[in-house]
């Protein structure tokens, strides 16, 4: 009996929950400027999230998936992506979309039930969020292949949850990415839950990072509540992919502090005792503690930042609420480049029946 292959999965963390470094921070991230910026983005994301829930509660937003507790993942990934890279996000990656330049009011619009929310003006080539779990992974392989075929030094970043790792779509996409060494990075936001299904009931694999071994490339695990670790390890993966060396999978260990969505009640299936310790691992608090200790971050600055972010979000919410509705007939206007006559007739019929009902 001989050994023909062997593999290891590594875990990386820099900032402990208490804000104390577990090891020296990577140079690129040690600089206070940078960390302050990342801190600000996480605070903004949380403000965005709180407002979304408030809008839902007051009946002005549809079902919404909260990112509470996962801010470091999105912000860390966004920090290491270049503008012309392409993001393929899952439906919970608002922090990442914001970091990519999608406007908060556009994200609200999407969750408010308006297609225009996916017509965002910022990162033009980024994909809309994938509401089909894992369905976007094959797209990421296609986007990355496009980059490779055109010999562009761009990277596709595909982000999905722990639940998505059970979908064959994700495996098939990772397999081809590994085969062709595509410039794509897969990131699992392992928030420990897939709706009411805990991570432990999703797979028998010791880590989700090792899913990449089946596809022939490296997987890494990081503390997903440590924005420094996320930025470093995902950053290395992005650089690796950009250099034409192929894909990597990064598993970010974090936690969904909220319900699955605003129409879910996690208390029915999740023990509060499990949630509490994760609050103590808050991705935002640890950076504040670190900045306070090492970069003289003051309460005034903190207060100012919160005000800035809340103001920004309030403006976005107002912009969202002020958006004039799409006329009903627009449901036909982006189906094909040119609407076939048969369907154009249906469009007319719809307008007619709306008119009639207006009348009577």
């Amino acid at each position: 009996m001989s050994t023909v292959a062997s593999f290891e999965i590594h875990h990386t963390a820099y900032l402990g929950p208490d804000g104390k470094p577990l090891m020296a921070l990577p140079n690129a991230l040690a600089d206070p400027q940078t960390l302050r910026a990342l801190y600000r983005d996480m605070v903004l994301a949380r403000a965005f999230d709180a407002k979304a829930i408030a809008l839902h509660r007051s009946g002005r937003l549809g079902t919404y998936a909260s990112l509470l507790g996962q801010e470091a993942v999105g912000v860390g990934i966004g920090h290491v992506m270049q503008t012309d890279d392409v993001l393929l996000p899952s439906f919970r990656e608002h922090a990442l979309q914001l970091k990519r330049g999608v406007r908060p009011e556009e994200i609200y619009l999407y969750w408010g039930g308006d297609e225009r929310g996916s017509a965002f003006s910022g990162p033009k080539e980024d994909f809309p969020v994938s509401a089909t779990v894992g369905g976007h992974a094959p797209h990421a392989a296609g986007v990355a292949l496009a980059f490779k075929l055109r010999d562009e030094r761009r990277v596709a970043v595909c982000v999905f949850g722990d639940g998505a790792t059970s979908k064959g779509d994700v495996y098939e996409a990772m397999n081809v990415a590994g085969l062709w060494k595509l410039p794509v990075v897969f990131v699992v936001t392992n928030n420990q839950w897939a709706l009411s299904t805990p991570r432990a009931e999703q797979t028998g694999a010791a880590t989700l990072a090792q899913k990449s071994i089946a596809a022939g490339f490296e997987g890494e695990q990081v503390d997903g509540n440590d924005v420094v670790a996320v930025a470093k390890v995902v950053g290395d993966a992005v650089a690796h992919a950009r250099a034409g060396k192929g894909p990597r999978l990064v598993e970010c260990l974090t936690y969904r502090l909220s319900d699955h969505t605003t129409v879910d009640d996690a208390s029915r299936y999740r023990d509060e005792a499990e949630v509490k310790p994760w609050w103590e691992k808050d991705p935002i608090v640890r950076v504040r503690l670190y900045l306070t200790a090492t970069a003289g971050w003051t309460d005034e600055q903190e207060k100012a930042l919160l005000e800035e972010c809340n103001a920004l979000i309030e403006q976005a919410a107002d912009a969202y609420l002020a958006t004039p509705p799409q006329p009903p007939e627009t449901m036909f206007d982006h189906l094909y480049a040119e609407l076939p006559v048969e369907i154009a007739a249906q469009r007319e019929a719809m307008l007619a029946s709306i008119r009639n009902q207006g009348d009577g």
């Binding site: 079902t63 439906f91 039930g113 509401a131 064959g168 709706l195 009411s196 299904t197 299936y269 369907i343």
Partner: protein, 326 residues
Amino acid sequence: MAEHSLLEAVNLALKRAMREDDRVILFGEDVGVGGGVFRATQGLLQSFGPTRVFDTPLAETLIAGMAVGLAVQGFRPVAEIQFMGFIYSTLDQVINHASRLRNRTRGRLTCPMVLRAPYGGGIHAPEHHSESTESLFAHIPGLRVVIPSSPKMAYGLLLSAIRDPDPVVFLEPKRIYRAAKEAFDDDGEGAPLDRCLMRREGGDCTLVSWGASMKETLVAAEELAGQGISTDVIDVCTLKPLDTKTILDSVARTGRLVIVHEAARTAGFGAEIAAGVADAGLYHLRAPIVRVTGYDTVMPLARLERHYMPDAARIRAAVERCIASD
């Protein structure tokens, strides 16, 4: 006699079926502790334990394929797909395996399974959560396709679906999950899987629909009655096999047919019903067969969905057109 919503009826039927036959097992995403996103399986884990009610990994192809393996082995799997928008990953298993295993093996192996899924729009759900693609399944030989439109029917039809020796796709109109309560006994009585239901009788026009659209169809029928137009209203609770006789008999009396469904018009199941009547019932027709359906565009997100789905006014207008046109 207790009153139940359609959702409660589904839960009741599942419970009853599991009590009477321990080969019946239930699985899917979040059906266990979670009790299902709509609570259709609420309490069943507690009543029957984790060997008969369990969550699967997030993998629809697996859910359908695993059901095939369990069914062949003598279980009566009832697998849930959380929303119809995610059912497409099961089609390879449903078409290539579940629907034809009996035929492939000349009856050596059989596949008594039920694939349940909530379907349709109208609850302001997120993207991909409001589809109606029942006609895809209706085209597949070897399947049964069942869609209840009332609590009592949901109860009886689901029981029969679970007891049936062949694969059944059971679609639940989630828009009316909680719409109305109906009184019936939990007596274990199944409903036939090959019969349309006459929901209303009248001589001027035949109205045919199924699922949530029955609601608007019955409203329209009531309003039409107010205008002196009386209608037969037929509920196609079993799309496959289709009970064409009930429809033809009605058209023979009324001479007019209006078909209502929420799915996109082109190649929707309404087409099959119209085609059947245009053959066997042509000489009874006194007016064109009109379909009132969802449009041939993508089901819009929450804000515009109500404009997509047939409403009573559109149905009424169609019937009036039929009446006028002869």
